[in-house]
Symmetry: C2
């Protein structure tokens, strides 16, 4: 088992990474000093429950905790204010209180939704993330961002709220759709580009093993991804500055995701396209070499992720980019590489340059 | 003008107290480094808006900020999930973003509601409290508790979220109902009993001036109340321990409020009754003297607050007390005085003792 610490003073916690960790769920709870008799509300989605609900059930039956599993429909639609109402009611029914525990058991949708409930039920209930998609394991379960969507924007309602533990079982990835695996890999590439050239090279050298979900390589990849995210979050928990670099590839990515309709692109697919745009912008601004542009494109290709934009219009993408909630005072900030392994925040990118770059990606 | 600091590391802020501060609202915003052009969403209720809306409007017209005033119906009913939905929509419509500002302008209902919106819109927007009831000025606007109600319980959905500034204008108290003034005074008495015997004596010595809203005495009373709350909150922001002492009188108080139906008793009236119960419990447990019991009863009487319980049944009150959300692991904790000026948390108070005490208060 690998351990990664997230260092946030009194809100610090550990990420446990390993194959088969779910089997020891009871022990992990005891290690956290969760007392016998504690009420545990597990929030999961239909698909994850069909696959792993009985295992969770069995593991918790073996313990002295009182638990209840709530299953919501799978997909982004469950990240809604309406669903929070349903979950608050369920929590009340179950008699959840501040000394209880909430477990998010699923992908990023469940993590964000259950995390928001944990953040706001009785002003905060302890909670644990058990991420079951690669994207959730390397990204959304770490760092304390929780949210639901609003018609006007994704993640518009939310809170910063840290879990007590993140428990990553590599084995659950075996049932994941290929597209969801790839989606997670986009975020992994992101960590290499923004923070760690050596890691980027490791991904390139091991891309076959990674795609085949080789457990040893995967453990290393997830661990390093979590480390990088944890390091950035520790320095800027509330996204006042540095944390913005985690949005590398996301400015264009979010615009594409929103325009195509959520669900059309997986999040990571849109991010991959956005990373291509960002690297190209950096190239136009003389920040990176042609070789660096090509290295990133090659890795994105090797992971089977898209690089071009289908069916969207250029002016739509540009105007959507300017509505991003990270836009401060009307100015779009781009996270652009200085080299592979380092990014900076660049403001005032000219419309012409952006247009030229995006035009090349349009199909 | 009096200043009280709330010391919470990077979340620290100031409380400004004085007569006529509203007239300088623009300057207060500039002092906070709010930039020209910033969008400001003011949330208030019907009554406060009728009384002070035009003044706020005028003060903000004089500035370079872009603002919008949203008026919700007055009363506890507005502290609902449904109302949060309305306010999120208004915020989106207005184009509020993370660099904007929310101002809560009203009593505790508005502070709690607007604070919750500020805590959860885009994972947190800066906000300012301008409390206009005495209760809000001495209690709810300070300390970062925000919340809305759920059918199953008051303040069941909420967050800890600190304002950037609390601006207390004493003059607005002149339009407050007598009952609302008294309600705030119950919390003031509470601070004396839990923390500061000298302050308790000052209240006793000046009870006439206080009831007449003498500005000099009032400034002192509000300042000391805020100081005490700030001190307790600074030591225990998230209510893991010490902060519970602010619930002196509230265990029974909340039960009575809920049973009678919110609105029947003002919050402070219920708390006054609860403080009588708590002091009496402390007396039965040999923690305080007969003189101390009488001193508190006298002050509560002098402020015109109730001491007895009407129209409720004993068994109802006791069972409701046990449902309080502060109950951990089924055990009711009481905050009881050791003397006037000091309290401790006492668990395992016997049912018989509680019954005996409450029976004496029932009418
Ligand atoms: N909080 C953050 O920091 C953060 C960061 C990135 C993304 N996100 C959010 O994460 C969400 C996307 O996450 P996601 O991609 O995990 O989506 P998801 O949770 O919808 O999971 C994708 C699909 O995989 C299924 N699934 C989950 N685990 C499985 C398993 N082990 N085997 C088989 N199927 C499984 C789910 O049922 C779902 O159908 C978005 O809402 C995004 O906003 C949040
Ligand atoms: N967050 C906390 O720490 C905390 C602490 C204590 C109480 N509270 C909450 O505070 C709420 C009660 O606060 P409240 O008593 O201020 O109630 P409130 O906000 O409903 O105000 C009481 C009434 O006074 C009116 N009013 C407000 N200012 C006025 C003024 N200057 N002149 C004339 N009328 C005015 C309001 O319109 C309302 O009708 C409850 O919801 C309670 O849960 C929160
Ligand atoms: Zn992402
Ligand atoms: Zn109170």
């Amino acid at each position: 088992m690998e351990l990664v610490g997230v260092d946030l003073e009194e809100r610090s916690y550990e990420i446990k990474i390993g194959a088969g960790l779910l089997a020891n769920l009871g022990q992990s709870l005891i290690d956290l000093d969760i007392k016998a008799g504690t009420k545990i509300l597990i929030i999961t989605d239909k698909r994850v429950n069909d696959l792993y609900g009985s295992e969770i059930n069995q593991r918790l039956e073996e313990t002295d905790f009182e638990f209840k599993i709530i299953v919501v429909p799978e997909g982004e639609k469950s990240k809604s204010l309406n669903m929070t109402k349903v979950l608050y009611d369920e929590a009340v029914d179950f008699g959840l209180d501040r000394s209880s525990l909430i477990i998010a058991f699923g992908g990023g949708v469940i993590g964000d939704l259950a995390g928001f409930i944990a953040a706001t039920y009785m002003r905060g209930v302890p909670f644990i993330q058990i991420p079951t998609t690669l994207l959730a394991q390397v990204d959304s379960s770490v760092g304390g961002k929780t949210a639901v969507n609003h018609e006007a924007g994704k993640n518009l309602i939310g809170a910063f709220y840290q879990p007590e533990l993140v428990l990553i079982d590599l084995e659950v990835l075996n049932t994941l759709d290929q597209r969801d695996v790839r989606s997670g890999l986009a975020e992994v590439i992101k960590y290499g580009v923004i923070w760690d050239k050596e890691f980027f090279n490791y991904l390139q050298a091991n891309h076959k093993e990674i795609k085949e979900l080789d457990l040893d390589v995967l453990a290393k990849v997830i661990q390093r991804s979590c480390q990088i995210k944890a390091e950035v979050v520790a320095k800027d928990e509330k996204e006042l500055g540095l944390r913005a670099i985690l949005n590398y590839g996301h400015t264009i990515g979010h615009a594409i995701e929103a325009l195509a309709g959520y669900g059309e692109y997986r999040h990571g697919e849109a991010v991959a396209i956005g990373m291509i745009s960002a690297m190209e912008l950096a190239y136009k601004l003389d920040m990176v070499t042609k070789e660096e542009v090509e290295a990133q494109t090659e890795l994105i290709n090797n992971f089977g992720l898209p690089t071009t934009i289908n069916k969207l219009r250029l002016d739509q993408i540009i105007s959507k980019t300017k509505q991003d909630k990270k836009v401060k005072d009307g100015e779009v900030n781009f996270i652009l590489p200085n080299s592979i392994g380092e990014v900076e925040i660049v403001s005032g990118v000219k419309n012409e340059v952006l247009t030229e770059v995006l035009a090349k990606q349009l199909r």
